[in-house]
């Protein structure tokens, strides 16, 4: 870029500081308020963990936590299996067919969340499937699969294609060759993909909102409905924990992708 004068450098520092303030002040304030003894949103009256204790004694929140984790775990497991097999299958196909199938994965990634949510809801209601945990899980699997697919496919391309053939020549059955040769080679990609899928699943609000019901709320749904009833500090505690979880997962994913690219 253009060489910077001292004035430009000062401006740059101030600009970045203000931007960081804008991006992080709301989150940091919310985290601070989750430890605030009073319900007030503007006065600090002392440090407390009460809201966190309350959080873990609230049956509604514990139920939602269980739902969220169940949905994320099941959706991650199934989408990892389907996505990995899908990548292996497409890798063995001719390019034309594989391109068509890969492009299908761009569909959930480009469709606005609200349209995805509404379209699934319409299908479920049309088929008289009551909205609940499983309708949400199926929806999550659909938007998780592309993340697994796009994490595994580059690993397959990097693999030596002769390895699989060699295993077959040496007497492996195709299933055994898959299990003993291909899967170990692409394990890092599978793991990154499943971490991404898990994160996306935990993080989702809009699609879950349309494909589940108030009977089986997940955590985001609880936060969303609580906003209509005024602010509760327990919600700050819950949000803080959710932010922290996602942050840890992102750091893990980031580390993995960095290691893999080394």
């Amino acid at each position: 870029m253009v060489r910077n004068t001292r004035a430009v450098k000062t401006f740059r520092t101030v600009w970045m500081a203000l931007l960081m303030l804008f991006l992080y002040a709301p989150i940091l304030i919310m985290i601070a308020l989750s430890f605030n003894a009073s319900v007030s949103r503007s006065q600090w009256t002392g440090f407390t963990l009460d809201w966190y204790v309350k959080l873990f004694h609230d049956p509604a929140i514990l139920g939602a936590l269980k739902t969220t984790l169940e949905v994320a775990v099941v959706a991650t497991a199934i989408s990892t299996a389907i996505g990995t097999l899908g990548a292996i299958g497409m890798h063995a196909m001719n390019t034309g067919m594989a391109n068509v199938l890969v492009n299908v994965s761009y569909l959930p990634m480009t469709t606005p969340d609200i349209v995805t949510g509404v379209s699934l809801m319409l299908m479920y209601l049309f088929c008289h499937v009551p909205l609940g945990k499983w309708t949400m899980i199926f929806a999550h699997i659909a938007f998780d699969i592309p993340y697994v697919l796009f994490s595994v496919m580059p690993k397959l391309r990097q693999m030596n294609p002769n390895l699989y053939e060699a295993a077959l020549d040496l007497g492996c059955t195709p299933i055994k060759a898959l299990w003993k040769v291909i899967i170990p080679e692409i394990t890092p990609g599978i793991f990154t993909g499943s971490l991404l899928a898990f994160t996306m699943s935990l993080d989702d609000f809009v699609i879950s909102y349309f494909t589940s019901s108030d009977m089986y709320p997940n955590l985001s749904r609880i936060v969303y409905s609580s906003t209509k009833l005024g602010v509760k500090p327990t919600m700050y505690a819950l949000s803080t924990l959710m932010f922290a979880t996602i942050l840890i997962l992102l750091v893990l994913i980031n580390r993995r992708t960095k290691l893999e690219n080394m």
């Binding site: 253009v2 960081m20 709301p26 919310m30 949103r41 199938l101 299908m123 209601l125």
Partner: protein, 274 residues
């Protein structure tokens, strides 16, 4: 069994849970509740009670895009620039919120802007008096910018980072002053990133859901909230059909803008997600 068959669960699942649901949207959008073909669902679009919401969505999304560009371009420029020690960690910090739950971020914003919140407490402490933000279009706009700013920074940053420095040096050697280098060289070369950023901010901003409800106490609805309202709260017997026609219009708009993006930036230099 041939290896390509391993892709069949994938093909089946994506067909059932990504393609077929969209066909349902198309079906409902073009039919009446008893299943006959009609275009009347789309006419609802122009009725004043819906048109107001749509125009407001377009207006706020446009303001949001302009603000994101004005804030995002210099940010991306500084981050990609020479001799900036902390650039790498700042990039991570700016892009990190992209991955964080939109609802939680908006909730945090709501806490900050609340009439009895930290912002007003700080203003009062400074003797400036309280301001009423929550419930205004300003609050909604702020929430939109807060949520979508990283989507503007990322593609512009990617383009600027890949730019060939020798071109800039050539311009400098040939006597361009810094301002002219920026306006004549840097900005024109970053057009793919700008277009990518504009699409990645404008489209989700138009279809945004929940941001405006939260920041306006439910007073201001945008297109996304309208779709939710039509499907889940209205008692209109044709609500699925009308809701579908709105969703379809959104989808077509997105596809058009992706097509436009591919045309302006065929090699995806802008690093957009699409």
């Amino acid at each position: 069994m041939k290896r390509s068959w391993y892709a069949s669960p994938y093909a089946l699942w994506m067909l059932l849970f990504a393609v077929v649901p969209l066909l349902f949207v198309c079906w409902y959008a073009f039919t009446t509740p008893d299943g006959t073909f009609t275009l009347s669902n789309f006419q609802e679009f122009v009725k004043p009670r819906y048109m107001g919401v749509i125009l407001r969505s377009l207006k706020l999304a446009l303001y949001c895009t302009v603000l994101c560009l004005v804030i995002g371009y210099p940010t991306a420029y500084f981050l990609a620039g020479r001799g900036f020690n902390h650039a790498q960690s700042l990039v991570v910090l700016i892009l990190l919120p992209m991955w964080m739950n939109l609802l939680l971020r908006t909730y945090a914003m709501m806490t900050l802007l609340d009439d009895n919140g930290v912002l007003n407490a700080a203003l009062e402490a400074l003797g400036l008096g309280k301001i009423h933000v929550i419930g205004t279009e300003g609050a909604v706009l702020m929430g939109l910018v807060y949520n979508y700013l990283p989507f503007m920074v990322l593609p512009i940053y990617t383009v600027l980072k890949k730019m060939d420095y020798s071109v800039i040096e050539a311009a400098e050697d040939l006597g361009c002053n810094p301002l002219r280098v920026i306006t004549r060289v840097v900005i024109p070369m970053s057009v793919p990133g700008i277009v990518s950023g504009i699409t990645m901010v404008f489209m989700p901003a138009v279809t945004s859901f929940a941001i405006s409800t939260l920041l306006s106490n439910g007073k201001i609805r945008l297109a996304g909230d309208l779709i939710d309202y039509i499907f889940n709260q209205s008692s209109n017997p044709t609500r699925w059909n009308i809701g579908s026609s709105f969703s379809l219009i959104m989808l077509v708009l997105i596809l058009i803008s992706i097509g436009f993006l591919r045309k302006v930036d065929p090699d995806n230099e802008g690093g957009g997600m699409w």
